[in-house]
Amino acid sequence: MEIKRRDFLKVAAAGGAALAAAAHPALAREPKTRIKDAVGFLYDSTVCTGCKACVSACKQYNEMPASFSTPQDPLWDNPLDTDSKTYNIIKLFKDGTGAAKDREKDGHAYVKRQCMHCVDPSCVSACPVSALTKDPVSGIVSYSKSACIGCRYCQLACPYNIPKFEYEKAFPQIRKCELCSHRLKKGEIPACAEFCPTGATVFGKVEDLLVEAKKRLQYKAGSSQVYPVERLGGKATAERIVTPYVQKVYGEKDGGGTQILYLAGIPFEKLGLPKLEERSDAHRSETIQHTIYKGMIAPVVFLGGLLYVVHKNTKDHK
């Protein structure tokens, strides 16, 4: 009996070691890097005037119904956050009197929230049926309702709480921004960027947007500069007096990077953008899982050991 037990312990030790090693894995999967031609937005909070033209355009071109945060008085579309009827929203930070724009104390600032189209998206990693996928060319994270089983693991996984679910419906779907893929196909740009009158949201290739963002961080506050409107490299531009920036491009590296980049005059946490490590959660989760299940070797060896031991032991019992 003791010998058999020792035999098994060897096998069990292999499985146990795999699990324990997984906590601090040495064999990490390569972190995902930016796709060369990926597209996205640069949103500059200091440029945004909070007009919400983007919110309205998003609803119109994605055929979304109004969302009421005042159900007793449902007169106009007034969502408080992104929801299953709202892919894009402008939110307000306000402190004290709120007098000055882009000031942390007694000031206010705007922030646009929508799907970040992450470089290494948690939702794509989490979805058991590949209903959420990242396009290999544009990097857009899109959703397929024919695949989705409605488990809502994407909602749990997303560090930005972006995927929204139709809890009120008998046949619900997940809803989120897909960067107006339907418009891009027709050669148009996403509605929120096209209808942004100030250039707070500009569409472009992420690598160019990153260059533009870093250029703006070099601008001297008070100087007059030319800002692109709607899209990078397009005809429309606007001149404006630069206001001070926080010296960081949010989304460059946060959570492994995103295709929506942010500039702001106040700290990003105040605008509700979470502080994330440079390593994506998807990378951490997949590394641990793949360390345990690499090539299914550990489970197969474990099963082999089990078959041998159980076969031997059931014979003994007869």
């Binding site: 069990a12 990693s125 058991p128 049926v129 590949s130 089983i149 809502r152 009120e168 979470p274 899982q289």
Partner: protein, 393 residues
């Protein structure tokens, strides 16, 4: 095997059974309502808290509580402790129902249930998804459990042959039993592999929750902690059920055998706690346990329950008393359940003022599923050879 177990017999429609049936019936009505009016109509689930008690209890805690079959198989077939054989069958029965109903309650929870078969279509597989691994593994294990338990059904059919429909009488039950017994070891082996995989992965599910999971629970050791904890819960439920059955059905108890199982449970719990706290110290997260908030309070409740279980089952002398064993098993089940609730709900905070507390209807659906489980267990132990014969005690 058949020599060890025998049907209890006796009245099925007892008073407790009728109460359970009432709760279950009410839950069925609520479930029907949910399919017409959506998940939001019966639950408090929301975009910030997409998972509530249907996942945290019915699936995550529920399958851990249903680990009796797994834990006993480890002991009897892997570590070759044949003397515990008589306890395998009741444990398997509870596992079979626990897992089957966890699977059934997933169909209440998932929003697009008509697409559920996509989980098994290779074109949709996402091998990076922990949820994929859990879903496939749990489904496979449910099938394995029914096969592992089927000898009891076949024995039952043999016994009541005259009362059964003609086509069942014509089955070659003996032939089927022989073939099954010959190959049963394969299913027993798979039946140990699968829970090892998915009980650890149930913990891994929260890894991708990242910052939304409180550092007292967010750790790379989630898979290992969930696995050890599930095995201890498996032993705890075997002890708890066995003693409950001996009191409830007025049978002699198997205290000496249960005492030895409790010893294994105590050791594993000690190992679990050592890993749990070492991890917190190494990550520098233990300080968070001393803040005045719900999370730190629930952290201490969770671990106090583990310690309470140890108080009853760690001293060898108290393991010889059914009362200590019962309380030890009970506290351990509670501890493991609270750990799971903490990792999935109490320690989960999506920010942005979202909150979650289960609604009445949501709770009733969970209670209805538990009621059905107990009803089915009571029916089967009375009609089929599951519980050990008293003289074996």
């Amino acid at each position: 095997m058949s020599e060890e177990s025998k049907p209890l017999g006796g009245e099925v429609l007892t008073k407790p059974f009728k109460v359970l049936a009432g709760i279950f019936g009410f839950a069925v009505l609520l479930i029907i309502y949910r399919y017409f009016r959506g998940i939001g109509a019966v639950s408090n689930l929301n975009d910030g808290y997409p998972w509530g008690i249907w996942i945290a209890y019915d699936v995550v805690a529920g399958t851990a509580i249903a680990c009796g079959g797994y834990s006993m198989a480890l002991m009897v077939y892997v570590f070759n402790r044949g003397k515990y054989h008589a306890l395998v069958r009741p444990a398997l029965l509870a596992s079979m129902f626990g897992y089957t109903l966890a699977g059934a309650s997933i169909m209440v929870d998932i929003g697009r249930y008509w697409n559920a078969y996509n989980l098994f279509l290779p074109g949709y597989f996402n091998v990076n998804s922990i949820m994929f691994e859990v879903a496939v593994c749990v489904t496979a294990y449910i099938v394995v459990l029914w096969i592992e338990f089927s000898p009891a059904f076949l024995e039952g059919i043999n016994k009541y042959k005259s009362g059964l429909p003609k086509f069942v009488q014509n089955w070659n039950v003996e032939g089927l039993r022989t073939t099954l017994n010959k190959w049963l070891f394969v299913f027993i082996a798979i039946g140990v592999l699968l829970p090892t995989m998915h009980q650890s992965s149930l913990g891994s599910l929260m890894l991708i929750g990242g910052w939304k999971v409180h550092p007292l629970w967010q750790t790379g050791f989630l898979p290992l902690l969930f696995l050890i904890s599930a095995i201890t819960m498996g032993y705890a439920i075997v002890i708890f059920e066995s003693l409950f059955a001996s009191v409830g059905f007025k049978r002699a108890s198997e205290t000496p055998l249960l005492g030895k199982i409790a010893g294994v449970m105590a050791w594993l719990t000690a190992i679990y706690l050592a890993i749990r706290f070492a991890d917190l110290v190494i990550r520098g997260a233990l300080g968070l346990a001393f803040q005045l908030n719900l999370q730190s309070f629930m952290f201490w409740v969770e671990n106090a329950l583990y310690v309470a279980a140890l108080v009853f089952v760690a001293p060898p002398a108290s393991r010889m008393q059914s009362r200590s064993l019962f309380l030890g098993g009970f506290f351990l089940l509670l501890a493991g359940t609270v750990y799971r609730f903490n990792a999935f709900l109490v320690g989960f905070n999506p920010g942005n003022n979202w909150s979650y507390f289960p609604s009445f209807a949501e709770t009733m659906i969970t209670l209805g599923i538990i009621s059905f489980e107990i009803m089915a267990y009571l029916y089967i132990v009375k009609k089929f050879p599951v519980l050990p014969k008293p003289e074996h005690a």
